[in-house]
């Protein structure tokens, strides 16, 4: 492996980690959403620094071509993150639905309160 590729691997991993940590710091990202990206970035960094590790782990797992392990893990992470997002989207939709109901019910209640208040205050308040 050429030195350039070695450095590219490390820089890419550091960049990913940097983006995730900066997002966390600026509250763009909550911990529970960042955890997968942090884990992926850390694994990428470790493998970037010690490329031989990938071959060793692939050997343990019986993966003939080490790069396939990288693809497998990447897809697994993306898959899990997507599932998590879909789940949270569902939860948000259900919360939005409950809020919309609450808003509508309260709006109706306010309107009826206003009407009975206007009636109680007599006709002079009603132009």
């Amino acid at each position: 492996m050429s030195l350039a590729v070695y450095i590219l691997g490390i820089v890419a991993a550091l960049f990913t980690l940097g983006v995730v940590i900066e997002s966390l710091r600026r509250r763009h990202l909550r911990e529970r959403h960042a955890i997968w990206w942090l884990a992926a970035g850390l694994v990428a960094l470790v493998i970037g620094i010690f490329p031989n590790l990938l071959g060793i782990v692939a050997g343990w797992l019986g993966v003939t071509v080490p790069i396939n392990l990288v693809f497998f893990l990447s897809i697994a992470v993306l898959f899990l993150v997507s599932i998590q997002h879909s789940g949270e989207l569902t939860e948000l939709e259900s919360e939005t639905r409950t809020l919309a109901e609450a808003v509508a019910l309260q709006e109706l209640r306010i309107k009826e309160l206003e009407r009975s208040l206007a009636e109680a205050l007599g006709p002079k308040r009603n132009p």
Binding site: A100, E101, A104, L105, L108
Partner: protein, 249 residues
């Protein structure tokens, strides 16, 4: 039960989900009030962009305005919540496009004396509403499965014309699906798995104000697929425990 039909109607809330129905909603509300004395009518304006809310109000209905479009199931759950908060015993869903004949409400509400959920069925020999071809087969398959689940003969499970008794209102105020077909198909499964009793009564159904039911086999297949999906999801979910009916008085 005491007091007869008019007392039962006074404890009944007609819920009409309406999305951009300014053409029809006013007339439907007026017809409901003319046909069913003593009944209360709630139009749930499901985020309409037109004059639906004002026309419904002008016709004398109470209007619940959802700030965003939630779909029929979403509008209905809001209606169930309103019924629960206002102390209504029964909720009858009536379409705001005039497809359902308000005269049928009396029979639906009468059915609530013995059952928790009463469906108004289109194919039970009354009225002129017919569906042919693949869509009919799709609906039949669905009805067969749901009949077995609920333990009663159902022929028109996708009918939106239905009455819910006190236990069903309490259940549906918490759990009423907003997915496409979830409001009709899945809600039946939820009800039967929560040990509510289901029945159907024949009602006349008018032709829809706009458009005819599709006879396209592709669309029928999609319809059956989505219904099957709704059914599958409903069956794998854990059953919902219904709160015990509160003793009256």
């Amino acid at each position: 039960m005491m007091g007869g039909m008019s007392a039962a109607l006074e404890r009944t809330l007609i819920v009409m989900p309406a999305f951009n129905e300014e053409e029809a909603v006013g007339a439907v509300v007026r017809e409901v009030y003319a046909t069913l004395p003593g009944v209360h009518c709630l139009v749930v304006d499901d985020g309409s962009h037109d004059d639906t809310a004002r026309r419904a109000e002008a016709a004398g209905a109470t209007v619940l305005r959802l700030p965003i479009n939630l779909g029929v199931g979403g509008a209905m759950r809001a209606g169930f919540k309103y019924a629960l908060a206002q102390g209504f015993d029964n909720v009858v869903q009536v379409d705001s496009d005039g497809q359902h004949d308000p005269a049928g409400v009396t029979e639906l509400v009468a059915g609530l004396e013995h059952h928790d959920l009463v469906l108004g069925a289109r194919f039970a020999g009354v009225g002129e509403y017919t569906v042919r071809g693949p869509r009919r087969w799709a609906m039949r398959t669905l009805s067969g499965i749901l009949s077995r689940l609920t333990g009663t003969k159902l022929t028109d499970t996708t009918s939106g014309f239905r009455a819910s008794g006190p236990r069903a209102v309490a259940l549906f105020a918490q759990h009423y699906p907003s997915e496409y077909l979830g409001d009709t198909v899945e809600s039946l499964v939820i009800a039967s798995r929560s040990k509510l009793t289901v029945a159907q009564v024949p009602v006349a159904m008018r032709p829809r104000a706009g458009g005819v039911p599709s006879h396209n086999p592709y669309k029928a297949a999609v319809y059956l697929g989505r219904a099957g999906m709704a059914l599958f999801v409903a069956l794998i979910r854990p059953p919902v425990l219904v709160p015990k009916p509160v003793a009256a008085g």
